[in-house]
């Protein structure tokens, strides 16, 4: 069976706009260096095309033909970025927007609008709306809607003059494609040259040909590609498109005639969207763990805001609060938003709580903690709300790792409170220390420019390096001898000497002498 999908395709001119100061009457071209270093015309404006120049010509040739040709270097990466941004913007019409893989001067977008056209008042109205919106945003475009991506591609680029919204359904697609040139089948130059040699100029010329014979007739298997493209255009073969962003399963979406220009308006509409989104989640027993709000600006841009939650939820009021704290007020509205989309990027099955296993109070407590962490994370950022995670390591700074608290529950570390600092300095700070014996406890030390006399000391507590771990840098990892010391002012500190006299330091000139470090403060 064939997958029938209706796709609207837009072809558009190269995304790098010419300098606005330039008169469109002047021939203008973007230049790209090819693999041999020759400058090639990459994109042309209509005036240059009228003058007989074409894409792929060398700049030298073009200059010889049109001496007044204005040339600028092309920036394909910026073009690609702009096209991707436009694809996200086009998600207002379809959750599944793909970049046209054909590319190369014929860039376009595929919008899978299967079953969505009625939302915009029919296929004709949809195409008109797409064209109007793009024109408003200053992007010249051609549109077509057809039952297959291939047919839509062909009609948008090679359809009748202006390409004003050609629409072809399953019944008419054959007739609509017949008069188009074979180039419209998205075939490579090699196949195209052979087809021309056989006198196959129009797509209609291929219809009476037996498929197997046609595929065999071409050299290097090019015919197979041609037949496949033909089948894809007519809907006899499927075609997989990869959307720029994976289409979310849960999506709520609204558009307005008048753009929303203030944050209060956005907040009010977000409430409607949240209610829309939570209804199907409730139906499926799912809860959202991450939400993204996408605002579609009337100038062709999009603006995003995402929130994440530690536990799946579907309470619209909580979502609104999280969005407010994540900075709803800082959304860039431009000249206004004319559509808003709320998507659930990550969903999880909501399991009913087991009342028998945990007490009601504990469950409530855990819930309020998760809500607090969500709220703090939304406002401060994920890397600013942290909770310690114990790690199986005896190196003190490695024994505890601070991880985002989102989705975790903070647990008490078990440790030796009397013998470990309450405030850990990470990284340790160097100190100058004087010890009575080279491998004994320090008698005096200077830390942060203050000299302290040690009155009591306890140690050493010897911690060997974890030799199985790769060294962090070229620093040699050596044994640490930790001391708990108390100075004459009553302050208690955790010092260590890095390096052992004798075994790790023999006194040779190239060796680094053992050194003292301050690793933390004990209460």
């Amino acid at each position: 069976m064939t997958v029938w999908r209706r796709s609207a395709t837009r072809a558009r001119r190269p995304a790098s706009p010419p300098d606005p100061a330039l008169d469109p009457q002047n021939p203008f071209a973007l230049i790209l260096k090819n693999s041999r270093g020759a400058a090639i015309l990459h994109a042309l404006n209509p005036a240059a095309r009228r003058a007989g120049l074409r894409r792929g010509q060398t700049q030298a040739d073009a200059r010889a033909m049109i001496p007044q040709l204005i040339c600028k270097p092309a920036d394909p990466e910026a073009d690609a970025r702009a096209l991707t941004a436009l694809a996200v913007w086009a998600e207002r019409w379809s959750p599944s927007v793909s970049l046209d893989p054909a590319g190369e001067g014929l860039e376009g977008l595929f919008l899978d609008v299967t079953g969505a056209a009625h939302l915009f008042g029919g296929e004709k109205a949809l195409l008109a709306q797409i064209r109007d919106r793009l024109a408003e945003a200053g992007i010249p475009a051609r549109t077509a809607l057809a039952s297959t991506p291939g047919a839509a591609w062909a009609l948008a680029r090679w359809g009748e003059a202006g390409g004003e919204g050609a629409i072809a359904d399953e019944d008419t697609v054959r007739d609509r494609l017949a008069p188009l040139p074979v180039e419209a089948l998205r075939i490579d130059a090699h196949t195209l040259a052979q087809a021309r040699r056989f006198g196959l100029k129009r797509i209609g010329d291929l219809y009476p040909m037996p498929r197997a014979g046609l595929a065999r007739r071409f050299r290097d298997g090019a015919g197979v590609g041609l037949v496949q493209r033909l089948d894809q255009a007519l809907g006899f073969a499927g075609e997989a498109l990869t959307p720029v962003r994976p289409p979310p399963k849960y999506r709520a979406w609204r558009t307005w005639m008048e753009p929303v220009e203030d944050i209060e308006g956005v907040a009010a509409r977000l409430a409607e969207l949240a209610a829309d989104l939570s209804a199907p989640l409730v139906r499926d027993g799912q809860g959202a763990k991450a939400l993204t709000l996408t605002g579609f600006r009337s100038d062709g841009g999009t603006t995003h805001l995402s929130v994440r939650m530690g536990r799946p939820g579907r309470d619209a009021a909580i979502w609104l609060r999280l969005f407010r704290e994540a900075g709803l007020g800082r959304l860039e509205l431009g000249f206004g938003l004319d559509a808003l989309m709320l998507t659930a990027d990550a969903v999880e099955l909501m399991t009913p709580r087991q009342g028998a296993l945990e007490s009601e109070a504990e469950a409530k407590q855990a819930e309020s903690l998760a809500a607090l962490i969500d709220r703090l994370t939304a406002r401060l950022g994920e890397d600013r709300v942290l909770t310690p995670e114990p790690v199986d390591s005896w190196i003190p700074e490695r024994a505890e790792r601070w991880r985002p608290a989102l989705g975790r529950s903070p647990a008490a570390a078990n440790g030796d409170a009397g013998r470990r600092p309450i405030l850990l300095l990470d990284p340790p700070e160097p100190v100058e220390a004087i010890a009575e014996l080279p491998d004994g406890a320090p008698a005096r030390f200077t830390w942060r420019r203050l000299s302290r006399r040690v009155t009591r000391a306890d140690g050493p507590e010897r911690l060997s390096p974890e030799w199985w771990r790769p060294r962090p840098d070229d620093r040699q990892v050596r044994t640490r001898d930790y001391y708990r010391v108390e100075d004459d002012a009553g302050g208690r500190y955790w010092l260590f000497r890095e390096g052992l006299y004798g075994r790790e330091f023999s006194g040779a000139a190239e060796e680094r002498a053992p050194s003292w470090w301050m690793h933390g403060v004990l209460p």
């Binding site: 407590q365 309020s368 903690l369 809500a371 607090l372 962490i373 709220r375 703090l376 406002r379 401060l380 600013r384 709300v385 942290l386 909770t387 310690p388 114990p390 003190p396 024994a399 505890e400 601070w402 608290a405 903070p410 647990a411 008490a412 570390a413 078990n414 440790g415 030796d416 409170a417 009397g418 470990r420 600092p421 309450i422 405030l423 850990l424 300095l425 990470d426 009155t455 009591r456 000391a457 306890d458 708990r484 010391v485 108390e486 002012a489 009553g490 302050g491 208690r492 933390g520 403060v521 004990l522 209460p523």
Partner: protein, 217 residues
């Protein structure tokens, strides 16, 4: 700064008020202050403790270390500004999800501290502001100044630092007399308890021994 002259014979106000303030007498007393702050939880409240402060605070004093504060589930919220830290403190207190929220914040206004006081009552939590200095108006019920004191003697090894001790000076309390108490870290619970009670050798002796050396800080 008025140095405590002697230890008070009044009852140590062990039960925390909804909102208190505590400062370190000197920067080096920060570890003692943190220990004191963590001990201001009510009884065996198992809810976590939130610590918030501008990032620079953590760079200056180090980060709270779980193994050294055993038994306390911690949440850390380093913020960019003091205003963010105040907001975090208020959210945490109001949520009822934490037992204790500590905020190293300077320059909180009277209105802001009133909000915190109210939020703490609402969430049945204890809020502790840790400013650099105890000046300005505040709705906090008690204001403490904490200084480290030389540790108790370790019965096993007299040359080693023993259980931590500190002086908690109540600078101002609503309806309470100011005073100073010496607190000692319990070996078992790692929480602070009144040192003199269990030491058993009376208030006067400790007050006499402590006053000249450590309290002038």
């Amino acid at each position: 700064m008025t140095p405590a002259r002697a230890l008070s014979s009044d009852v140590y106000p062990e039960r925390p008020a909804p909102l208190e303030e505590a400062c370190a007498a000197e920067p080096r007393d920060m570890a003692a202050l943190l220990l004191f702050a963590l001990s201001r939880r009510i009884g065996d409240d198992r809810r976590p403790v939130l610590v918030t402060a501008p990032r620079v605070w953590f760079a200056e004093y180090g980060r709270p270390y779980g193994p050294g504060a055993a038994g306390v589930p911690l949440i850390l919220a380093p913020t960019t500004t003091a205003a963010e830290a105040l907001w975090t403190l208020e959210q945490a207190l109001r949520s009822g999800a934490v037992a204790l929220a500590l905020g190293a914040v300077d320059g909180a206004s009277l209105a802001q501290t009133r909000r915190l006081d109210f939020a703490a009552k609402q969430g049945e939590a204890v809020g502790l502001i840790l400013p650099r200095r105890l000046d300005g108006l505040s709705a906090a019920r008690r204001r403490w100044r904490i200084s480290t004191f030389e540790s108790a003697t370790d019965p096993d090894d007299p040359r080693a630092p023993g259980p931590a001790r500190l002086i908690a000076e109540l600078v101002r309390g609503r309806g309470e007399r100011p005073g100073a108490w010496m607190l000692e870290q319990d070996d078992e619970t790692h929480r602070l308890r009144l040192a003199d009670r269990l030491a058993g050798d009376g208030l006067a002796a400790i007050g006499h021994a402590g006053a000249p050396s450590g309290l002038a800080a």
